[in-house]
């Protein structure tokens, strides 16, 4: 004895395998091969959700991915909770736990139902006109309330523990959809020897053929034909078959995104298996065989549980062995629904009436229905329905000469509706193909393609099975335009007249007060669409956003055409004039994990480390990210916090000696007879007069005159410059230099090489730095007399070839050792050992920042923001005198670039020495202001200073240089901080220490 609505036999389920599952805490049984939806229906469960806004009771509308109502949350364990899954696509497995959504406290008694009763206050766009007063209520009342009420499922709170794989693939033909058109295309393509990928979003290939119990193809039943064809394709090594794989996006140049689901249908998956696989397929040719989606009808009360698409009812019966009801009314505009009625009738279901919207009803299928004793009513319409948690009755009427009359109420427990088909043109549209309106089909079908792509079958408006198979074969052939059907499929099936319907059904006057739904998932009714056009929204894109029709997770699969038709009628223009909104990927939702792949956690981005990284790690350094680099920020000892560590490191550098890894800075070798000329044209400085063996602080501008990068440039040969850049700027400096070299001045004989990763750089800074190095350096006289500040030369250190610079970013006597990167660590360790006698101390980027700030040295990107000129930063002195031109020079001539009240770099000292300003804090000339305040600049760098004993800051202030010694104010939440404007050089302004 089969419980509920399950048929005693039939369907493609495995009746030998019982499967237990739970829905909303209750236990049920189904069979292997069921979906959650079919199993619930078999158990007579029809209420499966509450609608988005009105919380109306809802049941399944469809049987596939277009389902708008039956969204559930499936829980595997605490960390694996997936909301918003369509129960029609959830394959049943033993132990499955699913819950309905958007209801409290229960599905049967949902408090949110009050929204339906108060629906007059919740029309489309109501939130644009409400929640405005009082303003204070937003934070504490409106926002929390709206956030709780919004949405359908609840977002997971745990990190996704599953693994997701990604794969690239190339093929000759990618076929999307394995229904009759797709299989025929695959056979055709495979025959020609092509490499084929055939994918389908469901677990079984066959599409509409899996529910077709009457057709005969080449002497076989549809089901047997599918089995044979798929079997032969599976044997072909050049064919890849992907089930449970959705083509979710069509990208330029025939790149298609596929989302393959590997384990969600299993009770338990092997630990090594990724949950999903993302395929990026570059196909020489694409065949879209995506089928068509049945159109629901728009009439009052069309959303009650038990009112569903006719084709879906047929699917539940023929594929899953489930009757959707025992007493069914059919409302249809075409012949297909009659086959559903006949199939249900044969399964013992009473068909109470078939309401046909057409005035005249003839043909093989309607006649078969009449012969079976069914009440076929032409010229019908629907005025209303009844039923609370399930439909219990429907009011039909006749339409005669434009008059609606003879209303009659009929008892029923299910209503099947069919408004014809809407070809699935989502992927075609994403490919930027042009759609064209077909009046006969009352649909948009693919017009001209933009990519190498063909549509075949129902997705281009071809519905007869024989034609669909022939169309698929043509599309899959090597040269579709030349294809002559070598193989004609012999198809035996009842002819059917498809007739699509658009817009709301004719209504009595006055019409029912019940709502007529157009978009089920977002609760959009005909009244909402009428309101939008009344309020002046004419573009379908505006109507969509104002009413939210088509904006739910189903992206309007069952609503977009009806919505468009209703808007067209309201605006009194032709349907094609209204147009469709833009189709966007993904076709159905795709897990975030699939897109992330392995780019998570430690693998999110590549990590760049310097040669001394393991040494710093061993010292338990605290690291910071600078771009993709890991840099030691400070080296805490014995429980120090950052403040204490940095204070100690700074003192060590200023008083003795410090060592710092500067390997991350960019290095570019500019080489060639025209190297100096090229440098002159690019950087602001004069390079011709820089002698070999000397360095100069270089500044690079953009053509608009603003500082782009800076760094020490060394002339290591007559035709060779070693240019350094900021750590983050290295790639874009090289790109800018290459741009000019290749495309502006190709006549210059110069070439560029990045040597950032080739040189390890060890900075040794402090009054004792020379003594440390003298014991290690060979082949170079680095005495004070022989080697002044800004010298460069080659030598050896620990037997390793070395380029040594006497440069300082700290303001102390300092050097930078460049050795080939492979020797970086060993040379670092040698310097560290040799420096012990002098109290050498390793320091990190934080100390580096403090020490340079005390000297007023800018850091591009921190003290500059792309709007700072050399003069703003106090660096006019670096501009080469008498240079006719360089990149950015013309822009510096603009009057606005010389204005005296431009933001200029100055120093700031808080009057209270204990206060360290916040970086980014704004600066005002007047204290005690209330918003909106008059502000004159901001703090760019700020630190607790080292030697000065007070905090120091750099800031960009309007007319800053004219404000020396002025008192300014930094407004903070606790009150204004008084500051004094100073020179940006806090330490050793005469430069005695750096020149020691």
């Amino acid at each position: 004895m089969i419980a509920g609505l399950r048929t005693p036999s039939g369907g493609r389920i495995d009746r030998t395998q019982r499967v237990r599952f739970k829905f909303d805490g209750r236990s049920y049984e189904g069979f292997a091969g069921d979906t959650l939806a079919s199993a619930l229906l078999a158990n007579d469960v029809h209420l499966v959700g509450r609608s988005f806004k009105y919380h109306r009771p809802r049941g399944f509308l469809a049987a596939g991915s277009e389902e708008p109502n039956g969204l559930v949350t499936v829980t595997r364990d605490a960390a694996r909770v997936t909301p918003n899954l369509r129960a029609t696509q959830v394959e049943l497995y033993d132990g499955l736990i699913a819950e309905s959504q958007n209801r409290w406290p229960s599905l049967q008694r949902d408090f949110g139902r009050i929204n339906d009763l108060l629906s007059a206050f919740f029309p489309a766009g109501f939130y644009y006109k409400t929640f405005m007063w009082p303003r204070k209520a937003w934070k504490l009342l409106y926002e929390p309330m709206i956030r709780r009420a919004a949405g359908l499922g609840r977002a997971p709170v745990h990190a996704d523990p599953d693994r997701y794989a990604q794969r690239y693939a190339h093929c000759d033909v990618l076929i999307v959809g394995a229904g009759p058109a797709g299989i025929a295309a695959a056979l055709s393509a495979a025959e020609s020897g092509a490499r084929v990928i055939l994918c389908d979003e469901t677990n079984e290939f066959g599409g509409s053929l899996l529910t077709d119990t009457s057709a005969v193809i080449d002497g076989q039943t549809a089901s047997a034909w599918v089995k044979r064809c798929v079997g032969s394709l599976a044997q072909n090594s050049r064919v890849t078959l992907l089930a449970r794989t959705t083509a979710f996006g069509y990208f330029p140049h025939n790149l298609i995104g596929l989302n393959q689901r590997l384990v969600d249908h299993l009770a338990s998956a092997p630990a090594y298996q990724p949950r999903e696989r993302l395929w990026q397929v570059r196909a020489r040719a694409v065949v879209l065989a995506t089928g068509a989606i049945e159109r629901p009808l728009v009439f009052p009360g069309n959303d009650r549980p038990g009112i569903l698409l006719a084709g879906a009812a047929q699917t539940y019966l023929n594929r899953y062995g489930v009757c959707v009801g025992r007493r069914v009314v059919v409302v249809t505009s075409g012949d297909e629904a009659y086959q559903a009625a006949l199939d249900l009738h044969a399964a013992g279901v009473f068909i109470a009436a078939i309401a046909d919207l057409r005035a005249e009803v003839t043909g093989a299928l309607p006649d078969a229905a009449r012969r079976a004793g069914m009440d076929v009513r032409p010229g019908s319409t629907v005025l209303d329905t009844e039923g609370e948690l399930r439909v219990s009755g429907i009011t039909l009427a006749r339409v005669q000469s434009g008059q609606v009359q003879a209303a009659q109420n009929i008892r029923c427990d299910a209503v099947l509706m069919s408004g014809g088909y809407t070809p699935s043109v989502h992927l075609f549209s994403q490919s930027r193909g042009k759609l064209q309106w077909n009046d006969g089909l009352q649909s948009f079908i693919p017009g001209s393609s933009a990519e190498s792509e063909q549509s075949a079958g129902a997705c281009r408006g071809i519905y007869g099975l024989a034609e669909v198979l022939a169309d698929g074969a043509r599309a899959g052939a090597a040269a579709p335009e030349l294809h002559h059907a070598q193989h004609r499929f012999n198809v035996d099936t009842l002819s059917r007249r498809s007739s699509a319907y658009l817009g709301a059904l004719p209504q009595a006057n006055p019409p029912s007060r019940e709502k007529s739904f157009v978009d089920w998932q977002h609760d959009v009714t005909t009244r909402d669409l009428a309101l939008a056009t009344r309020e002046g929204f004419e573009s379908i894109e505006h109507v969509k956003r104002y009413t939210t029709t088509g904006m739910a997770t189903d992206q309007g699969k069952t609503s977009s055409l009806n919505a468009m038709a209703i808007v067209a009628k309201s605006l009194q223009i032709a349907i094609p004039q209204v147009g469709l909104t833009t189709f966007r990927m993904p076709y159905t939702p795709v897990s975030f994990g699939s897109f992330a792949g392995i780019s998570r956690g430690d693998l999110f981005d590549p990590v760049r480390t310097t040669p001394t990284h393991p040494w710093a790690q061993a010292q338990a350094a605290v690291f910071e990210n600078v771009g993709l680099w890991k840099r030691a920020r400070y080296f805490p000892r014995g429980g120090e916090d950052m403040h204490a560590a940095v204070a100690r490191e700074c003192r060590a550098v200023r008083n003795a000696c410090g060592m710092f890894d500067a390997s991350t800075l960019g290095k570019i070798e500019v080489v060639g007879p025209d190297a100096a000329e090229f440098m002159n044209r690019m950087y602001i400085n004069n390079w011709s007069n820089l002698g070999v063996g000397r360095c100069r602080y270089g500044i690079l501008l953009r053509e608009d005159g603003f500082i782009y990068d800076d760094g020490v440039v060394a002339r290591i040969g007559a035709d060779r410059f070693h240019v350094t850049t900021t750590t983050g700027g290295a790639p874009r400096v090289l790109a800018l230099l290459e741009d000019y070299r290749q495309t502006e001045w190709p006549e210059l004989n110069v070439w560029l090489t990045s040597t950032t990763e080739q040189w390890a750089v060890i900075a040794v800074q402090g009054p004792k730095s020379r003594q440390v190095l003298e014991s290690l350096v060979e082949g170079l006289d680095i005495s004070a007399a022989a080697w002044p500040h800004m010298s460069v030369g080659r030598g050896r250190i620990c037997g390793v070839p070395m380029l040594l610079f006497r440069v300082s970013f700290t303001g102390e006597l300092g050097f930078e050792i460049n050795v080939p990167a492979d020797f970086g660590l060993s040379v670092w360790e040698a310097v560290h050992a040799a420096g012990q006698a002098y109290g050498i101390t390793e320091y990190g980027t934080e100390t580096m920042h403090v020490l340079r700030a005390e000297k007023g040295y800018i850091i591009v990107g921190q003290d500059t923001d792309g709007t700072v000129t050399p003069d703003d930063a106090g660096l006019s002195w670096a501009i080469g005198k008498g240079k006719a031109d360089f990149v950015g020079k013309r822009s510096l001539e603009r009057a606005s670039m010389k204005s005296a009240d431009r933001k200029q770099l100055v120093g700031l000292r808080a009057k209270d020495p204990g206060v360290t300003l916040e970086e980014g804090a704004q600066v005002a000339a007047k204290s005690g202001q209330k918003p909106p305040m008059e502000l004159i600049g901001h703090v760019t760098s700020s630190y607790a200073g080292s030697v000065p004993g007070y905090s120091i800051a750099l800031a960009l202030i309007e007319g800053g240089r004219a404000r020396l010694a002025q008192t300014l104010y930094v407004p903070m939440p606790n009150g204004d901080v008084e500051v004094e404007v100073t020179s940006p050089v806090f330490y050793d302004p005469a430069g005695a220490r750096i020149n020691a």
């Binding site: 330029p252 933009a450 053509e703 608009d704 790109a735 013309r890 822009s891």
Partner: protein, 118 residues
Amino acid sequence: MLLIVCPYCGKRPEIEFTYGGQAHLARPDQPSQLDDQAWAEFLYMRSNTKGVYAERWRHARGCGRFFNALRDTTSDHFLAFYKTGEPRPVLSTSPAPPAQSVAARTDAAASPVTERKI
């Protein structure tokens, strides 16, 4: 992801390239001779063509070279790829390319800017 044909390396995916903006923009020979208006034109004014657009790409993750391309901005179809320094190809089906250079838009007599064929 677009497929781009580097004239030196062949057909490669877009991820290997960086975009280089409008093509055939020559830096004026004597910037000091331009008034602010003309200089601003060079700095900031770019065409925003709906249709065939001449643009630059750089094979940043490959040979590192700049080159030019003609792309239809409505369909993302590439119609031609050509090396730096080569003139913009004349396509058989398209109309003559609109004048986009600074020289063409400013009064040629007043401005000493010359157009380079890069």
